[in-house]
């Protein structure tokens, strides 16, 4: 791994496995470190275990064996409550489905991104407007989801994910439901966020999308097959 640093990597997976009841091994021993400020694509076909990996990185799930460290915290040592707090402050999520409640103005949906971080309602609203401006939706604050295009909805979802300036932004197929123009706009926003310091982990089956990030981790059958772009070095991992 990389040399000595003042702060530990944002995400550290140490020989992580995740087995589901019935003996399905979705993640079969992954070791991975993601530095702060990095932009990583986790690429793989459906069923490769990339979504399970995302759940583990996002602390939505715990590994069967191995260790996961997020921002210096060992996931195994935290209670469910503490994991919730970790997610509230450190991790932002973007999903393929935008998960915007129908009929609720997007500024409110975005403000909900800070609900569980203990921010008062006025602050939440003010920062929601700022966050929407950041993704180029400053003129659509009071629109409802059905009044927006898919790309705009996904950008609103990104605004919700980054409203609290989380260190880590996890995006699960963010362009999966979008046409190429909208998808490009979304990738543009993610790129800007990365430029301003947010670590981005993006899950996709689309190699073309993956190449827009500067590191690509290829997953198949629950293990890392290739890891390109780590400090400019291209490595092929042979399983």
């Amino acid at each position: 791994m990389s040399g000595p640093q003042r702060r530990p990597p944002l995400v550290v997976l140490e020989d992580v496995t995740r087995e589901y009841p019935g003996g399905v091994r979705a993640v079969a021993g992954v070791t991975l470190a993601i530095e702060r400020g990095d932009a990583v694509a986790i690429v793989g076909r459906s069923g490769s275990g990339k979504s399970s990996l995302l759940n583990l990185i996002g602390t939505l799930d715990r590994p069967t064996t191995g260790r996961v460290h997020i921002d210096g915290c060992s996931v195994a040592d935290l209670t469910d409550r503490q994991l919730s707090a970790l997610r509230a402050r450190t991790i932002g999520f973007v999903f393929q489905q935008f998960h915007l409640t129908p009929g609720v103005p997007i500024s409110e949906a975005v403000a909900d991104g800070l609900l569980y971080a203990g921010v008062g309602v006025r602050d939440r609203r003010r920062r929601a407007a700022e966050s929407l401006q950041r993704v180029g939706l400053g003129h659509r604050l009071h629109h409802r989801p059905h009044e927006l295009s898919g790309g705009e909805q996904q950008r609103a979802a990104i605004a919700r994910a980054v409203i609290g300036n989380p260190a880590l932004l996890l995006a699960d197929e963010p362009t999966g439901n979008l046409d190429s123009a909208s998808g490009a706009a979304v990738m543009e926003v993610l790129g800007q966020l990365n430029d301003s310091g947010t670590t981005i982990v993006l899950i996709t089956h689309d190699r073309e999308v993956a190449t827009r990030l500067h590191r690509q981790v290829e997953i198949a059958d629950g293990v890392v097959r290739a890891d390109r772009g780590v400090a400019g070095v291209e490595t092929e991992v042979i399983a």
Partner: protein, 415 residues
């Protein structure tokens, strides 16, 4: 649910620098989140709140109507007084009716706590007709009484037309009609020529009485003066009903001695009653009915509660994605549980407020037709509202637990 302190991570190895601590949701946020869930499903929320509304409205209006009826009775009793006692000859087992001594009124007047006493005497075999041409059989069942002139003071009669009897039959015989009697004879207003026939003699009707709730037997009656009755109608002078007003604190004592005072030789011939007791007893029989209706209201509320539980269970099933999202945004299990519990509480509170309003409205509407005072006891309103909160809590508990138990990955995958 949420403890104030978080135990530091158990046996922490080196990498864990600190233990993150979930933020507390303010009361405003808790309610805002719960209400947002309801706002998104107005139709369904309205319908399930309606179930609660019907239950609470039924209970409130039943309690309100019976309390208003009770308030009306109290008002009536306050006006009529509960201190009236009546005495009448008892029927002996063989069916003969005793007679009261003609000295009875004077004797009763000598009992110290007696404020006033009056009497009437039934004139047997005499009937009243509108004119001479009415067949004798058509008596309208109107009883003809000889009355002492001080009767209205004791019974607290009010007169709807004309006046009471004055000097007994000075120039021509006069009569006063009870409310029902006047109606039966078709007399609703009086002129100096308004006459009726009693015992083949013409009597001028000088007054019509208002109904007397404490002596309803006198509504279908005609009253002629005591001496007039003796002179023209063959009245024997024995009173058949004695009415007396007694100082309130002595009602029981006087009741005990009234029989012996009226007929010292045969006190068992005198039947003493307190008419206000009858009204109270009548009101009591209504409480059985009230209890039954209250039970029906409770059943409606129960069904409403099941409706709320049903809505909440379905809501949790439908909103797995939302639960997953909230967990991803950092909601703890406790906060998810609280969200759905509060949503359920708000839903049934909504129904409860509607129920209280409709209940009061229904009570007011019904009571207005009866000319009763409107009275919905505060305990019924508060109790009804408390019941909805209880129903909401019970109905929401299971769905809320289910929502909280849902693992975040499961919730997000359930799309």
């Amino acid at each position: 649910m949420r403890s104030g302190t978080v135990r530091p991570g158990r046996r922490l190895p080196a990498p864990a620098r600190r233990s993150p601590r979930p933020a507390r949701l303010g009361a405003g946020d808790v309610i805002r989140v719960g209400a947002a869930g309801l706002r998104a499903r107005r139709m369904r929320v309205g319908l399930s709140a309606l179930g609660i509304t019907i239950g609470i409205a039924a209970m409130i209006s039943v309690v309100g109507i019976s309390a208003s009826s009770r308030a009306d009775l109290d008002r009536k009793l306050a006006r009529l007084g509960t201190n009236m006692l009546t005495a009448a000859p008892a029927k002996s087992p063989d069916g003969t009716v005793a007679t009261l001594p003609d000295t009875a009124v004077d004797m009763v007047a000598r009992i110290r706590p007696v404020d006033s006493v009056s009497a009437i005497g039934r004139i047997p075999d005499v009937s009243i007709y509108r004119s001479e041409y009415i067949p004798a059989a058509e008596t309208n069942s109107i009883a003809v009484y000889a009355t002492r002139l001080d009767l209205p003071g004791t019974i607290r009669y009010t007169i709807t037309a004309g006046g009471w009897l004055s000097q007994p039959g000075v120039r021509f015989p006069t009569v006063v009609l009870g409310a029902s009697a006047a109606q039966s004879l078709g007399i609703d207003h009086l002129t100096p020529q308004t006459q009726v026939v009693i015992g083949r003699l013409r009597f001028t009707v000088v007054g019509i009485l208002a109904p007397a709730p404490l002596a309803p037997e006198l509504d279908l009656a005609a009253f002629v003066g005591w001496s007039t009755a003796q002179r023209y109608l063959g009245f024997d002078g024995h009173p058949t009903n004695i009415y007396t007003r007694v100082r309130s604190e002595s009602v029981v004592a006087v009741r005990g001695v009234l029989g012996r005072t009226i007929d010292p030789a045969e006190p068992y011939n005198v039947r003493v009653t307190r008419p206000s007791d009858l009204l109270v007893a009548q009101a009591m029989t209504d409480t059985t009915f009230t209890g039954l209706m209250l039970g029906l209201g409770a059943v409606a509320l129960l069904v409403g509660g099941i409706g709320v539980a049903n809505t909440m269970v379905i809501s949790v099933l439908e909103r797995r994605a939302e639960i997953g999202l909230r967990r991803a945004l950092g909601a703890t299990r406790g906060q998810i549980r609280l969200q759905f519990l509060v949503e359920s509480l708000l839903l049934s509170a909504l129904g409860g407020v509607g129920g209280v309003l409709f209940g009061i409205l229904a009570t007011t509407g019904y009571v207005a037709t009866r000319h009763w005072p409107v009275y919905v006891p505060p305990w019924a309103t508060l109790g009804g509202f408390a019941a909805t909160v209880g129903v909401g809590a019970v109905a929401g508990l299971y769905p809320a637990m289910r929502a909280a138990r849902l693992a975040p990955t499961q919730a997000l995958a359930g799309m």
